[in-house]
């Protein structure tokens, strides 16, 4: 007892509680990363399809097929409250969330089923999961393949299906290429012609000769467009000529056009290697493909692309500015009241809520600067705004302002690690201050600058609130970088990973179906940001080790 009293009097319990605070913080981070990791990976893993015979509330039997997405224990009282019948004496009931797919047939993708009502389960080898362009997945059995209206008499139905699917995918690639790049180019040039004509009208130089030239160009482009349209029509006819015949698990027969099927797999026949292969196949599709069905299915390529481009552009703005400011603070300014003000300003820039940057960006960059730019340089497009609306350029500038303190602080830290003797040596050899800076100090501080840039990029990649106001959209019709001059379209709106998470997770009509995709997107974003930060930490540690010797 005495020992306990002394233990308390020493304050040791408090030390333990403090230690626990550290453990709790670490646990929170680890738990969160683990949660995102597991759930995010789960999106790509091919789940097996269960065939379940289920007893409905009215006693009738129902045959279902689907993938079990969740399992949870619910108190029986809760189920009784919601009007379900649960046998007396049971306290907890396990229920499963079954992804049944087939939204076009049964009207819903998901359903909860109660464990006690399951009569039997099985995993038929032949169950196929079809991913489709619309209506979500179809889960059922493959019966036959129709090529150009003709039912194929092939014993290996799956093989001939794969064959036709590859063929369809080739056609789809061709169509995408035609639509996105070739027709897109003609449309873009037609739009430029329209703007040119409008510009001439505004300037009052729309004489007959100029108009005739525009008209003749337009006719050429129209011809080109019609030819492409014809080609596209042919491709679509060929794509739509194939179909597959499938049945749902309860025997309903359907014909799905091949054009609607993106991919298919038979999870119940896959072994671990097959599943792993399919897992990576899914990861690739997720990273490299465009989204489908209001972003709830398919890939996130445009969001990745938009984020990367925006972040690169932002680095171009923020790095020189941040480095110059840091160099001024550390190397040039006399330490006094003014540098104190600058430091306070830097701290304020770091502390101002990001949404305030968004408001400022919208008001100052988009409406004030963008509006003036439009009036000066793009009067022909008015009243449709060019730079007077949110876009890539303004978003990058806004985020450059937001990440400026990150670069300054990190560069300053890099500069302060460089021993004084190096600068003095350089100056003593007759170098000017600029030469000292450019030839010796900056190269030595480059890891610090790198760290700053990496941290700024990591911060910008995850920032959403200001971007919502200055140019991010849920679905951009075209990428901001393409084959049409001037190639980089700074005025275009773009997609962003962070906003994608917010939009799909909270604004989409089918949150249940979209949730795995949101976890996967979150996982990608977290992995990128954690990696960037780890690299920054490494670079910084390397830097401090490097100059330790010089300091003594």
């Amino acid at each position: 007892m005495k020992a306990l009293a002394k233990w308390i009097a020493d304050g040791t319990p408090w030390v333990w509680l403090n230690a626990a605070a550290v453990s709790a913080s670490i646990l929170l981070v680890a738990g969160l990363l683990l949660l995102i990791g597991v759930r995010g990976m789960g999106h790509f893993w091919p789940l097996e399809v269960q065939r379940i015979v289920y007893q409905q509330a009215d006693g009738s039997e129902l045959v279902l097929a689907g993938q079990i997405r969740e399992e949870e224990k619910v108190t029986a009282s809760r189920l009784r409250e919601s009007g379900l019948e649960v046998a007396e004496g049971t306290e907890f009931v396990t229920r499963y969330l079954l992804k049944t797919g087939n939204r076009d047939v049964i009207g819903q993708d998901f359903r909860w089923i109660l464990e006690p009502s399951i009569i039997s389960t099985g995993k038929p080898q032949s169950m196929v999961v079809f991913e489709r362009e619309e209506w979500g997945v179809f889960i059922g059995l493959l019966i036959g393949v129709r090529e150009a209206g003709q039912l194929l008499e092939d014993a290996d139905v799956w093989g001939s299906f794969q064959n036709r699917l590859d063929h369809a995918n080739e056609l789809r690639d061709e169509i995408r290429d035609l639509e996105k790049s070739r027709i897109g180019r003609v449309n873009y040039r037609l739009e430029r012609l329209r703007l040119k004509q409008r510009g001439l009208e505004i300037k009052g130089r729309d004489d007959a000769a100029a108009l005739a030239e525009i008209e003749s160009n337009r006719i050429v482009l129209q011809k080109e467009y019609e030819a492409l349209e014809q080609e596209l029509g042919d491709l679509y006819t060929r794509l739509r000529s194939d179909a597959v015949i499938v049945t749902t698990v309860d025997g309903q027969e359907l014909e799905l056009p091949m054009s609607s099927i993106v991919d298919a797999h038979r999870p119940n026949q896959m072994n671990l290697v097959g599943k792993l292969g399919y897992f990576f196949h899914n990861v690739w599709k997720f990273i490299a493909h465009d989204p489908r069905e209001a972003n709830t299915e398919g890939g996130i390529f445009p969001a990745i692309f938009g984020t990367v481009l925006m972040v690169l552009l932002m680095s171009v703005f923020v790095t020189p500015l941040g480095v110059v400011a840091a160099v001024y603070l550390k190397e040039y300014a006399r330490q006094g009241l003014f540098t104190r003000f600058i430091r306070i300003a830097v701290n304020n820039l770091a502390g101002v809520p990001s949404i305030v940057y968004g408001v400022f960006g919208l008001g100052f960059f988009v409406y004030t600067l963008g509006g003036s730019l439009d009036r000066l340089f793009y009067p022909e497009a008015l009243p449709a705004p060019t730079f007077g609306t949110g876009g890539l350029f303004w978003a990058s500038l806004t985020l450059a302002l937001l990440t400026l303190p990150v670069v300054i602080v990190s560069t300053e830290e890099g500069l302060s690690r460089i021993p004084r003797s190096i600068r003095e040596g350089s100056l003593a050899l007759g170098a000017t201050r600029w030469e000292t800076l450019w030839r010796t100090v900056l190269p030595m501080a480059s890891p610090g600058i790198m760290t700053g840039m990496i941290l700024a990029v990591a911060r910008a990649a995850g920032e959403v609130a200001p971007l919502m106001l200055v140019g991010v959209v849920k679905l951009a019709p075209s990428l901001p970088l393409d084959g049409n001059a001037p190639f980089l379209h700074l005025d275009r709106k773009f997609m962003h990973l962070g906003f994608h998470i917010y939009d799909v997770g909270f604004q989409s009509p089918n949150v249940e179906a979209a949730r795995p995709l949101v976890y996967a997107t979150a996982l990608l974003l977290v992995v990128v940001i954690v990696l960037l930060n780890l690299v920054a930490i490494q670079v910084r540690n390397r830097l401090s080790e490097r100059y330790r010797g010089l300091e003594s």
Partner: protein, 749 residues
């Protein structure tokens, strides 16, 4: 770097003077450019601050009015005017003369465009009254008791280009050119008109307290689309002289003003007087409806204007309540003119003063002395121009610059009694589908929500961050510290959109399922930990040697996991005992505490998670920076390490820890995505842990994309941003000053 050591025989090249001149120039140029770099940072902060102020300022500027005297009245304008209206572009006006002609004229040069006699026979007009809003419908009552309905309409001709557009007026009779006899025998003194999709309503007051109320139901023929009217008339005779009459836009209520300062509140369903309200000691001199037709404005002979509207009480009974009183005029109010797009109005008094008010803001916007008592006056639909006719002296046109009358300090921060509400309240509701909507711009619930979210976040974050920082800086072994610090940095780098998404889609449902378990963790964890620690100190030396001093957090990781699991799994029986099976249901059914799935507790945890690393890092730096000599001295005097920490280290580092807390608070106040995703974003004012809120930042994110540039709404959102900016500016500047002071102190020790 190695090149310096590898250099062989030194070659000395003699360079020309020009080269050195050039070097010097380059050096000076570089100094200038780099000097600019420092300014840019300050300039950026000032630019943000001043731009926000620049956008917000017009909200608080007073309104202005400039007057133009038009040319001398031409002969056609000499006749008395019964009714005057102005179209949207303020180019063409419409008037009804006392002798019954409808005239359109151009303001520029007072050119008469069109003159039509409403009814042939030269009868004189008794009263003419326009309908609410900008339909252009006018009812004209003649002295013989007949009433005509007509409409002034305008179209724009762009054929000569946008700049030279021409307004083409048109007189229309939408309900036929025939007349209706409303008050046989004449003697009409007052007239009220209201028109909506379903019915057209006319009310007239005559001498001797006669009231006639005509309701015309509109029936549309399905095939031809033609509208026919089904008319019913009811009558009421009162025992006083009626000085003013109006009807509400929903046609349920009729208001009569009398000579002894009373307003009679009448139901049109059965023409019964429900209530008589004394609004003034003197005579009621003028009465009109505010935009939307809910509020009545009554002016009296002393110059007061009273706003009233029916308030629904218990049992679906309505009673007419006096809402607010506007004082500003000195003499009897002769006219009340409502604005057509906003809840503002304008009065003229017997001393020729013109005053502009705004009802929601409850303030006088502008007062101006007119050149005389106006004979007629018309306000443009956007309330940006006013045409005044004076009879003999030349007419005047006033340009009114009154962009944001609805904003005042009181309307932003105090309780306001809005239309259709049963009492004054703090409400944020910025827009609705209807034009006649009264915007409710109270920032109070948003500021409240911001503080509530920040408070719960700090409750979660402070203990973990500060205690963790103290341990890491003072007790932790250096090797472990080198691992913990990057982990905390990673925690800081996690995007808030991910925290918000997990909070909204994973933690909120999880908490709803396991409310009792999560709450019990707060008790079970500390208690369990201390118990474990005690047994650990009593454990065999060999076991204790496994974990070196300064590595306790690693030892505690599995303990915490087990304790968390225990709290979640074994709370069931306790719940059964105390809360009838489920705490969540017990709260809403028994305790009467409402529970939203996305609530303050979810936000507190998620945002707490976001601010832990900020507070942790700065506090840890402050504690770690305390000179070693201080703790050495204390320990040498026999204090235990805990006593040293609490009595020596923490007091020294406390300014730094305080600034850490302030910066954390600043971050919590401005955080957007977490609150946006983890709350329901309803602007309510309630400290309930289990209800949501809407914060200033989330409100900006939600509403900014939809607000029209330079509208009041847009500027108020900028004001919200400015408030956030100023708050974090003060907090960050304070925190930075404290830290600079602390650094000086440490270096002197």
């Amino acid at each position: 770097m190695n090149s310096a050591h590898k250099a062989g025989p030194v070659k000395i090249a003699v360079r020309s003077d020009n080269f050195h001149l050039w070097r010097g120039r380059k050096d000076r140029l570089a100094s200038k450019i780099i000097g600019l770099g420092g300014f840019v940072v300050i300039a950026a902060v000032l630019l943000i601050l001043f731009y926000l102020i620049y956008v917000v300022t017009p909200l608080f500027l007073s309104a202005k009015m400039s007057r133009t005297v038009l040319t001398d009245n031409p002969a056609w304008l000499k006749s008395e005017t019964s009714f005057l209206a102005l179209e949207e572009q303020q180019q063409v006006a419409f008037r009804i003369t006392e002798n019954g002609s409808a005239e359109f004229f151009r303001l520029n040069g007072l050119e008469l465009l069109e003159s039509t006699e409403i009814v042939s026979g030269g009868r004189n007009v008794a009263v003419a009254m326009g309908a609410q809003g900008d339909s252009g419908l006018v009812a004209v009552a003649f002295e013989d008791g007949m009433v005509s309905l007509l409409q002034n309409q305008y179209s724009t001709d762009f054929s000569a280009g946008v700049e030279l557009r021409k307004i083409i007026p048109k007189l229309d009779f939408p309900y036929g050119s025939g007349q209706r006899e409303l008050m046989p025998g004449g003697g009409i003194t007052g007239l009220a008109l209201s028109d909506n999709e379903k019915e057209l309503v006319l009310a007239v007051a005559g001498t001797g307290g006669r009231v006639r109320f005509e309701r015309s139901l509109k029936r549309e023929d399905f095939l031809s689309g033609e509208v026919s009217l089904e008319i019913s008339v009811s009558a009421l005779d009162v025992a006083f002289e009626i000085v003013a009459i109006t009807i509400s836009n929903d046609h349920r209520w009729l208001y009569l003003g009398d000579e002894s300062g009373r307003i009679h509140f009448i139901s049109t369903a059965n023409m019964e007087v429900i209530q008589v309200v004394q609004v003034s000691d003197t005579i009621i001199t003028s009465m009109n409806m505010l935009l939307g037709g809910i509020s009545v404005l009554a002016g009296d002979a002393d110059g007061n204007v009273t706003q009233l509207f029916p308030v629904r009480g218990g049992g679906n009974q309505y009673s007419l309540k006096e809402i607010r009183r506007f004082e500003g005029q000195q003499a009897a109010v002769t006219r009340i003119v409502p604005e057509q797009r906003r809840k503002g109005f304008m009065t003229v008094d017997a001393d020729d003063n013109l005053t502009i008010f705004h009802s929601t803001a409850g303030k006088v916007v502008l007062t101006e002395k007119l050149s005389g008592q106006p004979a007629a006056l018309a306000l443009a639909p956007r309330a940006s121009g006013l045409l005044v006719l004076y009879g003999d002296s030349p007419a005047e046109f006033m340009d009114i610059d009154n962009e944001h009358p609805e904003v005042s300090f009181a309307s932003l921060w105090s309780k306001v009694w809005y239309e259709n509400y049963s009492g004054p309240e703090y409400v944020w509701q910025s827009s609705a589908s209807s034009n006649e909507f009264e915007p409710k711009f109270s920032l109070t619930p948003l500021a409240f929500g911001t503080l509530k979210a920040a408070l719960y976040a700090m409750l979660f974050a402070l203990p973990l961050a500060l205690m963790g920082a103290a341990y890491t800086a003072y007790f932790m072994s250096p090797a472990l510290r080198r691992m913990v610090k990057p982990a905390i940095e990673i925690m800081a780098a996690l995007p808030t959109v991910i925290l918000g998404f997990l909070a909204g889609l994973w933690f909120a449902p999880f908490l709803e399922e396991n409310l009792a378990g999560v709450l019990s963790m707060m008790l079970v964890m500390p208690a369990g930990l201390l118990l474990f620690a005690w047994f650990w100190t009593r454990a065999a030396q060999s076991a204790r040697n496994l974990v070196k001093e300064g590595w306790e957090p690693v030892l505690l990781l599995p303990v915490l996991v087990v304790l968390g699991f225990v709290s979640l799994e074994f709370v069931g029986p306790l719940q059964d005992m105390f809360f009838k099976g489920d705490l969540r249901t017990w709260l809403s059914h028994e305790a009467g505490i409402s529970y939203d799935q996305r609530n303050a507790m979810v936000v507190g945890c998620a945002m707490g998670f976001a601010v832990i690393p900020t507070i942790f890092s700065i506090a840890e730096d402050a504690i770690y920076g305390v000179p070693k000599s201080l703790s050495d001295g204390s320990l040498a005097l026999g204090a235990t390490s805990w006593q040293t920490l609490v009595r020596v280290i923490l007091p020294t580092a406390s300014p730094g820890m305080f600034s850490a807390v302030m910066i954390g608070l600043g971050r919590a106040v401005g955080e957007t995505m977490i609150v946006l995703m983890a709350t329901g974003n309803t602007p309510i004012m309630d400290w309930n842990l289990f209800e949501g809120m809407r914060t200033l930042a989330a409100n900006i994110a939600v509403e900014m994309p939809e607000s029209a540039m330079n509208s009041s709404h847009y500027r108020i959102l900028f004001l919200a941003a400015l408030v956030l900016f100023m708050f974090t500016f003060v907090v960050n500047t304070g925190a930075e000053l404290i830290r600079q002071r602390l650094r000086e102190k440490y270096s002197s020790l």
